[in-house]
């Protein structure tokens, strides 16, 4: 099997921002249990910025590490900035992923997008 980078392993063993947020402003769930990957992102938004973000992930080492890394990358960013973070950027921040695991980084990007979309949808209704 192809090896993970040290950074992937570090994030896998000490994931940042694991858990749930009580009464979150947005929740996004991506992935599919069939494929063995599900990521759920919770966000708290203040002044259009991601004030808090937490995740729960069912998946392999890469899925957990990319979840952890993406939460670090988007925390404190404006929503528009957060939406610009690509899967490639997440993978690069982890010093790369084995080719077969690149789809895990897609989930990280999509998870954040889904949470922001959910937040925006809820807020549209409020307005």
């Amino acid at each position: 099997m192809e090896e993970y980078s040290e950074k992937v392993m570090e994030h896998f063993f000490n994931p940042r921002n694991v858990g749930e947020i009580e009464s979150p402003d947005g929740v996004g769930e991506v992935g599919n249990p069939r494929c063995g990957d599900i990521m759920r992102m919770y966000i708290k938004v203040k002044d259009n910025r991601i004030e808090e973000i937490k995740f729960k992930t069912f998946g392999c080492g890469a899925a957990v590490a990319t979840s952890s890394m993406v939460t670090e990358m988007v925390k404190g960013k404006t929503l528009d900035e957060a939406l610009k973070i690509t899967n490639r950027a997440v993978a690069e921040a982890l010093d790369g992923l084995p080719p077969l695991k690149m789809h895990c980084s897609n989930l990280a990007e999509e998870g954040v997008k889904a949470a922001i979309e959910d937040y925006r949808k809820k807020n549209e209704k409020k307005m």
Binding site: M1, M9, F12, F13, P15, V18, E29, P33, R34, C35, G36, D37, I38, M39, R40, K56, T57, F58, G59, C60, G61, A62, A63, V64, L100, K101
Partner: protein, 389 residues
């Protein structure tokens, strides 16, 4: 624990010191080509013939029914393709099972491209085929039945004697992939009516890269490799002398005192299974509890994924394996677990621990100490479980 706890004996085993010692002369001074005529060449030739006797003894067959190959995969490929192409005028139907090793399954899929019809028998939820279903699937043009002796993932043991009897009665060739069974279950090819049998040395403390196809005299099969006259012109190529010698020594050691060794391994296995099921909730055992390889434990932990379990076991120096998609390099979890009727998300959470005669109670206790903590940690991260805190 300081040392590595190796619980992946179904993947491979450590070459035993006696086996290594038996091989070394043929990697040093006794390097002669067995096909040549001078003294060091004759030594090589004699060594191969001794190994052939050791294998024949272990299987209760004639020495001229043993063919050395590069391992289990080659033996499976040869058995199935060799029978198919040599007997296609008689029929183009082959029966196998849905839980075979890929060396059998992918070979059968390959044959489908050449017009062969393959029946993949389902298994019951315990991983064992139904002999009545097999009977019903036999047709006039069935030329081969290939059913593995015991499964590599879940350890389930098939009713080989009944299949052998049936195949003999219907005059159909019977091949069994016995890679996992050799050295764990006594095998007598006469009593079981086996016509072809695959085995691989590294699964029973022999070296990697060497195996055997047992081929009953009179079976009509095409050659595996064309070239020189080795292995009665059926499998050409200069022999892997040291490997063959190691295989002979290893099979001799492995088939000695099987019962006594099994008793010890089964006791540890039962303890491990009982304690895992006791200590970790939402866990299921895969495969049959009784008709199971002595050293096989295969469980699914709900809500978590196998590769993550393996990575966490690895830092605790425990070597194990899983049927999750992430460990197989595809998006699908193990075909064996799916064949048992498990849901995908459950199959992704599988863990296989395979014990050997070297496994100790201390090692098992250590695994039982760390495994519940690992499962808890991963479940704490899982979105599939609703934790109300």
């Amino acid at each position: 624990m300081d040392k590595i706890i190796y619980l992946d004996s179904a993947a491979t085993t450590k070459t035993s010191p006696e086996v290594l010692d038996s091989m070394l002369p043929y990697l040093k001074d006794s390097f002669g080509n067995p096909s040549s005529i001078y003294s060091i060449a004759r030594e090589s030739k004699r060594a191969i013939e001794k190994a052939r006797e050791q294998v024949a003894d272990a299987l209760n067959c004639n020495i001229n029914e043993i063919y050395f190959t590069s391992g289990g995969t080659e033996s499976d490929n040869w058995a199935i393709k060799g029978i198919a192409f040599a007997n296609e005028k008689k029929g183009k139907h082959i029966i196998t099972t849905s839980i075979e090793h890929h060396a059998v399954l992918h070979t059968c899929e390959y044959l489908e491209k050449y017009g062969f019809k393959i029946t993949y028998l389902p298994v019951k939820s315990n991983g064992i085929i139904d002999i009545e279903t097999l009977k019903k699937e036999i047709r006039d043009d069935t030329i081969l039945i290939s059913v593995m002796f015991a499964n590599n993932e879940i350890g389930s043991i098939q009713p080989i004697k009944e299949i052998g009897d049936l195949a003999k009665e219907k005059d159909i060739y019977f091949h069994t992939d016995a890679v996992q069974a050799i050295g764990k279950i006594p095998i007598d090819v006469e009593e079981l009516h086996i016509d072809l049998l695959s085995l691989s040395a590294h699964k029973f403390h022999g070296p990697k890269g060497v195996g055997v196809l047992y081929l009953r005299n009179g079976v009509n099969i095409s050659e595996m490799l064309h070239g020189g006259g080795q292995e009665k012109k059926k499998r050409a190529g200069t022999e892997n002398v040291a490997g063959i010698v190691g295989l002979g020594e290893a099979i001799h050691l492995a088939t000695k005192k099987v019962e006594k060794r099994n008793k010890k391994i089964i006791k540890l296995r039962e303890y491990l299974i009982d304690e895992i099921l006791e200590r970790i909730p939402d866990t299921i055992l895969n495969g049959d509890r009784e008709k199971r390889l002595p050293g096989n434990v295969n469980v699914c932990f709900k809500y978590i994924e196998g590769e993550s379990i393996l990575l966490m076991l690895d830092i605790k120096k425990i070597c194990a394996s899983s049927g999750s998609a992430c460990t197989s390099g595809s998006l699908e979890p193990s075909h064996v677990l799916l064949a048992l009727g498990l849901k995908h998300e459950l199959a992704h959470g599988s863990l296989r621990l395979t014990l050997s005669e070297h496994t100790t109670k201390e090692e098992i206790d250590y695994v039982l100490e760390v495994l519940p903590i690992i499962v808890d940690k991963l479940r704490g991260m899982s979105p599939l479980i609703n934790q109300k805190k």
